[in-house]
Structures are given as structure tokens and as C-alpha cells.
Amino acid sequence: MLNEQIITDYLLGHLSEAERVVFEQRLSTDPVLRKEVEELKQVWQMLQNTEADTDSQMDEAFYKALQGEKILATTVVKLSPSPWRQYFKYAAAVAGIAITFWIGRQTAPIQIEYRTIAAASTPSTPPPTHTASLQEAESTEEDFSNTKIPHKKGKQESIDQQIASLRKEMKMTQELVILSLLKERSASERLKGLNYAAALNNPKPAVIQALIKTLREDESLNVRLSTIETLERFKQTDEVKKVLVNQLARADEPIEQSTLIETLVRMRVKESLPVFEQIQKDEKVDESVRILAKNSIGELSMITE
């Protein structure tokens, strides 16, 4: 081993007892080496002695922040009950198949959908030779039926019910897939989940809560940005507005801050004004974000209810 490495081991206390004794013997016979090591030892010790201690102000700030984080965490836990989690992977597998089926149904021409159901309910009817309409299917049905109009209406209602329940089921599985994707480790999978979520019309509260959780906790900036966009598409409840304002107060990436400011202005959330003002004054914040905050204060203040 080189001299340099042994001296480092000696100074940092990484030599074994036997090695240390041998090295100290060497030091006693080599005055040049001894002088070198003593000087280095002196500097190393000084370095250790100059270390600063923490103070109560620092402790106070940390425990306050911890308390705040605990309150936030409790809210999130209450909103997303954990028993769901264990079923996500199974639900995702089932939902994968179901989604394929659903997409097929959505993309197929509507006439085919009716014909299929009508044919299923009248197995002895020969298949129509041209694009069948609902009326045709119904009139065929009429021939086989003695209870004409009431029966026709009953059938129609039952078909409508079947379609409605199918759609409901599809929506549920879609929501399960989204919830499951948002928990994936890979950021691209989570982005996929957000894309699916963006296609929903009126998502269940659980989906919104999962999006809120993603916005607060996701480590990937891209995922957080996409979550902001998705949340903006849905019904803009007070809770969503509040979450976006809080997120702006916490965010430290300039892109995230700008996106949030722009979104809050589009959503006309006046409650965000104090945070905008805070950002505008904060010298640690990126210059472009501060200018945007300043302009947005003007824009938002001008909006009248």
C-alpha cells in the first residue's frame, strides 16, 4: 500500500491495532514522515473542532414542519382507504380485458350494437341482409310476439338497461385501472394512468383523491405537471382549488410554479392571490416565475365574480 493511503487510514482511524503499532514504530524512526503526519493530524483535528452545533431555532422549525406534514398525511390516509390496494393488481388484469372490449364497443358502428342485441333475443330470426336498423330488429321481434306494444317497450327498456349497466361497469373498471396505474413505480406508467383519467367525464371521488395524492407526493415533475392539467379538466371543486393553491406554496421547481399560476388564473381562483404575492416577493424564486406571479395578480384582481 502506498504511503499516502496508509497515512489517510491512520488519520481517519481505519488502521487495525496491529497496523497502527507498526506504523507508529515507523514514525518514530522516520522524522520526515513524522513531521508530515503530525501536521496533517493537527489540521484534521482542527477541522473536527471547528464544527458548529445546531440551535433551538432550527429544532423548532423542523418539529413545526413535521407536525404540518403529519396533518397532511392523515388527511390523505383518510381519503384513500388501504384495503383497496391489495385488489388493484387483480382488478388491473380484469380491467385490461374489459377495456379492450369496451374500446371495441365504442369504436364499432352503433347499428351493429343494436343488431347484436336484437339477434340475441330472437335466435330464430334470419340475419338481415343489409345494415339493420333498430326499427327492423324491433319489427321482426313484433312478429314473434303476441303482446305487441307493451312487450316491445319492455324489450327496449331492457336493452337500454343492459347498455347502461355495461357502460357503468366499464367506467368502474376504467377507474380501477387508473387508480392502479397511478401507483406504479415507473413514471411513464403513471403518466399513462393520467391520460386515461383525462378521458373520464365525471370521475369518482376516489380518482380525484388519487390525483390529489399524486400531485402532492409524486417525485416526477412530468407526472405532477400532467396531474395539474388533468385536475383542471374536471369539475373544479373547492377542494381541488385549495389543493392547487397549497401545492403552489410548496412547489420549488420553476416549471411547476408557472404551470400552477397559469392554471389558477384560468380557473379564476382568487384565493391564490396571497400565494402569488408571496412568490412575487420571494427573492429565492426564479425571476421569470416572479414576473408571472406579478402579472397574474393584476389579471386575477381584474376578474369580477
Binding site: 489517510t8 489540521v43 482542527m46 432550527m58 418539529y63 407526493e217 429565492k284
Partner: protein, 172 residues
């Protein structure tokens, strides 16, 4: 309870365990920042940011990963972000004048910090890491992308350089 067990508990929602990690690491982190710049107020603020990020990104901690290297990575990122946000800031900040009240220890302290600010970055970094929670050579090597032998040689040269700078500054 090891650091890793505490951090895993935090990542699973037991936030009270974060206090254990705070108590164990607050001094190391404060000094980690003080080695790089001398403003105590700044160092305190940056230390605070490390713990806030630790809490906020707790879900990204993977069970079994070394907490020391994980938190160090956060600290380095916090410091780089700080430099990015303060482009005029230089870690060669002037040493504040301590006035008439300083004693010999203060003087020594001042010289050492002056020497530290003049130390090339690569040397300062390796010294800071060797002082950070007694990190092993392997961990330092992992962080800096060096072999264990190279870490030892660099620590030695950093100390030599620091000594030369110290004697140079104090003899002026």
C-alpha cells in the same frame, strides 16, 4: 433502531420516526453546508430544506437502501439548487470580520475557513464527505465515482493542500 429502519417506517407513514433521523443527522448536515459556505443562516436554511425534502419524498426511499447516502444525495441536490437560484453566490464568501472580541480559537477557526474556501472543489468535497457521519471509503467512492484507493489518495492530498493553505493564510 437503525437509520434505515427509521426511514423505512417514515416512508410507510410513521412520521414520528423522522425525529430520530433529524436528531442523528442535523449536526452533520449543518456542517456539510458550513464547509461550503460560511453563512450560518444559509446553512441552517439549507439543512431545513433537506429534512423537508426527506419528508416530502419519503415514498421514494427504497427499503434497505443506505439512508446516509440517500440523504447525502438530497443534501447535494439542495446545495446545487441553491447555487442555481443564487447565481451570484459564490462559495468563496468572504469571512465575516469577528472584530475585537476574538480569541485564539476564533482566529484558528477563521484561518481554517479561509484555507477551506481556497481549497479546490474536488478536495473540499472529499474532506466534507469523510467528515459526514464517518462515511466509509466505499460510500465516498460510490458518491464521487472513485475507487477506494483513489479516495484515500485524494483525502491525503486534500489534507496536504489544506495544511499548506492554512499555514500560508496564518503566516500572513
Amino acid at each position: 433502531m437503525t437509520d434505515e429502519q427509521a426511514m423505512y417506517a417514515v416512508s410507510q407513514g410513521d412520521l414520528d420516526k423522522a425525529a430520530i433521523l433529524y436528531e442523528r443527522y442535523k449536526k452533520s448536515l449543518l456542517n456539510f453546508f458550513l464547509y461550503r459556505q460560511h453563512d450560518r443562516e444559509n446553512a441552517r436554511d439549507l439543512t431545513q430544506q433537506v429534512f423537508l425534502r426527506m419528508l416530502r419524498y419519503r415514498h421514494t426511499y427504497r427499503e434497505g437502501a443506505s439512508f446516509r447516502t440517500w440523504v447525502l444525495e438530497i443534501a447535494r441536490n439542495v446545495f446545487f439548487d441553491h447555487l442555481k437560484q443564487n447565481p451570484t453566490f459564490s462559495d468563496l464568501t468572504e469571512i465575516p470580520d469577528v472584530g475585537d472580541t476574538y480569541d485564539e480559537a476564533d482566529e484558528q477557526h477563521q484561518y481554517l475557513h479561509q484555507a477551506l474556501t481556497q481549497l479546490p472543489d474536488q478536495y473540499r468535497e472529499v474532506l466534507v464527505l469523510s467528515r459526514f457521519q464517518n462515511m466509509s471509503y466505499e460510500e465516498i467512492g460510490q458518491t464521487l465515482g472513485l475507487s477506494v484507493a483513489n479516495v484515500k489518495v485524494r483525502v491525503f492530498r486534500a489534507m496536504q493542500k489544506l495544511r499548506d493553505l492554512y499555514f500560508d493564510v496564518s503566516s500572513k
